[in-house]
Subunit: 97 residues, 2 copies
């Protein structure tokens, strides 16, 4: 049985390939569908209708509209690091009470 972190790695790979299909990269539309399914609260809470365009633009490497696994991973990294920063602040505030 894989460890929790091995399972994390597997899930990231399989999620990417599930949405990328045989092409091996995500288009803007693939990424939008992936975000809607996997981060349902994220796009809903975006008041900016151009949020997806901005995400695509920010993923520097994919100016050709193709998101490869590395770019996908860097997006997950940014989301997770932001979540972690928020979590650490919350924990510190809780510790002060």
């Amino acid at each position: 049985m894989p460890s929790q972190m091995e399972h994390v790695m597997e899930t990231m790979m399989f999620t990417f390939h599930k949405f990328a299909g045989v092409r091996g990269y995500l288009t803007k539309e693939d990424l939008r569908i992936l975000m809607e399914k996997e981060f349902p609260g994220f796009l809903e809470n975006q008041k900016d209708p151009l949020a997806m365009d901005k995400i695509m633009k920010d993923l520097g490497q994919c100016q050709d509209g193709k998101v490869n696994f590395q770019s996908f991973f860097s997006l997950i990294a940014r989301l997770t690091i932001a979540c972690n920063d928020y979590f650490v602040i919350q924990m510190k505030q809780k510790g002060r009470k």
Copy 2:
């Protein structure tokens, strides 16, 4: 209930904090224990006794011996991207048969 990718993000954060404790960073010893528990095959297959030292050195930002969440994430990124590259090659070879 969180989606699979939300669960992935949670697991990465909680794994880091489980081993980092209240200090908020991993020492070389914490990282060794984390790697042993979460990637049991990895260190076992390393014939190089200095593998952990090399990993620590490679994690550029932690020359002070402290691995923060971002550095931890970059280590997981490198492992996962390497696994994905291997997976893609295997899939291509399978496709050719």
